[in-house]
Amino acid sequence: MGKVLIIGYGNPLRSDDGFGWHASRLIARELAGHDVEVITCHQLTPELAEPLSQCSQAVFIDADAQGEPGEIHWREIQAQAPSSSALTHTCSPAGLLAGAARLYGRCPQAVLITVSGKSFDFGDSLSPVVSAALPKVADRVRQLVSAEG
């Protein structure tokens, strides 16, 4: 069984922007005991290339400013070197996968789960419509982890 790495990211003090944060913490509790590593962080940074290179499947969870609030999107991510003008503060999942491949010789399969937010104002809780997506996302991730097993 290959390890699954779950990276939930966002700002938990900007309401729905913290979706990835809340989701990853929920998943960490629900999947305790599985061969899963969960990282919760404010933003993607180059250091994540290393743990990405050590898993077989990665799941990125983020909020999205586009779309209907609460809408869940799931898409596979391929490694792609950033074209230009990348700042330290704006690593993308695809760029991190490329970094993992370049620096450590391998990168996992990866999916990006995003949930469209309703409010990105100051606040430490999710909008009800976005909060309702939490168990659905956790369920999808649980299925993926089971499939990996």
């Binding site: 404010h42 250091e47 070197a81 990348a86 330290t88 370049r102």
Partner: protein, 473 residues
């Protein structure tokens, strides 16, 4: 008169811009650093209970929250009038060493190495950490590994890498478990090897930067840093030592509570950043520098074996007082080595596993000052409280503030030497940004631009009309 704006200076923490005023011949007439954000922590913490200050002020920064956590907690210790348990002192300093290592790694590898390795004139689209990753993967791996180690030290002790609540007024809130100590100790040999490898590489490449070394802010200034009673480098404790440009000690062992006798604060036009100065000399001539370069200039030694060997070589190569701000990079690497060695010594102290870790008290003094060496230099938190412990006044002097005047002077020197207003090249302006980066300023870390790199250069005509502008893609 024409004006060039570097808006924003990139690969720094926080937001700032630089204006360069040209004369009619296209030569640099004046320069100014503008810090364009305001955080307001001094004001909006008024009314909050003093014991909330560590957690509140840690939010000032996402890179060095530990520095604010420690300085705030030390100020609270003073308000409580407690001497915290010895074990808590050890644990706080280990945490601090972890932060210094990760912060210095960030500054050197992620922020400045693109200039140093890819070249000041290289393609700006590639001159970033990801370009570094592509062309120098070994060094990028080292940078990632070193920063990760520092973060793991923080996470091991404080449970969270960013904004932990482990350091509290009176000490820390959980003891160190042997397994965590052993895990950190097991990672130290690799971390030290990484820094030594990087130092060797950096020293071997110094000759490539003769022109930058010559013109990157080597104007005379004073230096300030914390030292212990014997004059050795101190990051967590100690008193302030000021040296003048010739290396003469002009003030020594200044206790935190006495800082206002020696440090004044001036306001600058067009900037939200205060400009501290050495009070006995006055403003603006009392300019001094803090941070890694200043610390190695004021200290007699580091106090650990490998760092001291590097310290000796540093001064043998560059002089008793090293004036060039380019050498902040070199000093930063030596300090990273010191941080690792110091951490090892502290972890091997049997008292580090002690279970008495916190002193409890209420308000016993209505004023407290906390002072530490943040990675970027001296950090001072000064609070006044009422009898109930509510903050009535707060003053924060951050490392970048101390360096404000020196950064301005360095910008002026670099611009005068490198910028030709008649033949403007991106590499010229990058050198202006690079000298700001050498100080590793932390203007603030609250928000970050997403997407495009924010380089915006405008060229104004004599009447103030916009003649040309360059925006990065």
């Amino acid at each position: 008169m024409r004006k060039i704006m570097i808006d924003a200076v990139t690969r720094i923490e926080g937001h700032a811009k630089v204006s360069i005023q040209l004369d009619d011949d296209g030569k640099v007439a004046d320069t100014q650093l503008h810090v364009t954000q305001i955080r307001g922590f001094e004001k909006f913490t008024e009314g909050r209970p003093y014991y909330e200050m560590p957690s509140i002020t840690a939010r000032i920064c996402g890179i060095c929250p530990i520095s604010h956590l420690l300085a705030a907690s030390k100020a609270c210790d003073a308000i409580m009038s407690v001497r915290i348990p010895d074990t808590a002192v050890l644990l706080r300093e280990i945490l601090h060493c972890g932060q210094v290592v990760q912060s210095h790694a960030l500054s050197f590898f992620h922020l400045s190495a693109p200039d140093l390795l890819l070249g000041m004139d290289s393609d700006p689209a590639q001159r970033n950490v990801l370009g570094l990753l592509e062309k120098f993967p070994d060094i990028a791996r080292d940078g990632i590994a070193l920063r990760k180690f520092g973060q793991q030290v923080i996470e091991g002790l404080a449970k969270e890498r960013i904004h932990p609540s482990w350091v509290v007024p009176g000490g820390v809130n959980t003891p160190l478990e042997p397994a965590v100590r052993d895990k950190i100790l097991s990672g130290l040999p690799d971390a030290k090897a990484t820094v030594r490898r990087t130092l060797k590489f950096f020293k071997g490449n110094l000759d490539q930067f003769k022109e930058e070394i010559e013109h990157f802010g080597n104007a005379p200034s004073m230096y300030a840093g914390l030292v212990d009673a014997a004059g050795k480098l101190q990051l967590y404790d100690g008193g302030i030592r000021f040296k003048d440009a010739d290396g003469k000690i002009v003030a020594d062992h200044i206790a935190s509570r006495d800082y206002r006798n020696f440090i004044g604060e001036a306001a600058l036009a067009n900037s939200y950043l205060k400009a501290p100065y050495f009070k006995p000399v006055g403003f603006p001539d009392g300019v001094y520098r803090v941070g890694p370069l200043a610390r190695l200039n004021v200290a007699r030694s580091c106090g650990t074996s490998m760092a001291d060997a590097e310290f000796t070589e540093f001064h043998q190569r560059l002089g008793k007082i090293v004036p060039g701000s380019f050498h902040f990079h070199y000093a930063r690497l030596i300090e990273a080595l010191y941080g690792l060695e110091r951490m090892e010594a502290l972890l091997n102290d049997p008292a580090v596993l002690g279970r008495q870790i916190r002193a409890h008290a209420g308000v016993n003094c209505q004023e407290g000052v906390g002072m530490i060496e943040a990675p970027r230099g001296i950090l001072i938190h000064h609070y006044k409280v009422n009898e109930e412990g509510a903050i009535t006044w707060a003053n924060l002097i951050v490392a970048t503030g101390h360096n404000n005047l020196a950064i301005n002077r360095s910008i002026h020197q670099v611009a005068q030497h490198f910028v030709d207003g008649n033949h403007l090249q991106e590499g010229m302006l990058n050198r202006v940004s690079a000298v700001v980066r050498a100080y590793d300023p932390c203007f603030s870390c609250s928000t970050h631009a997403s997407g495009q790199i924010a380089m915006h250069i405008q060229l104004f005509g004599p009447q103030g009309s916009l003649l040309d502008e360059l925006k990065s893609a």
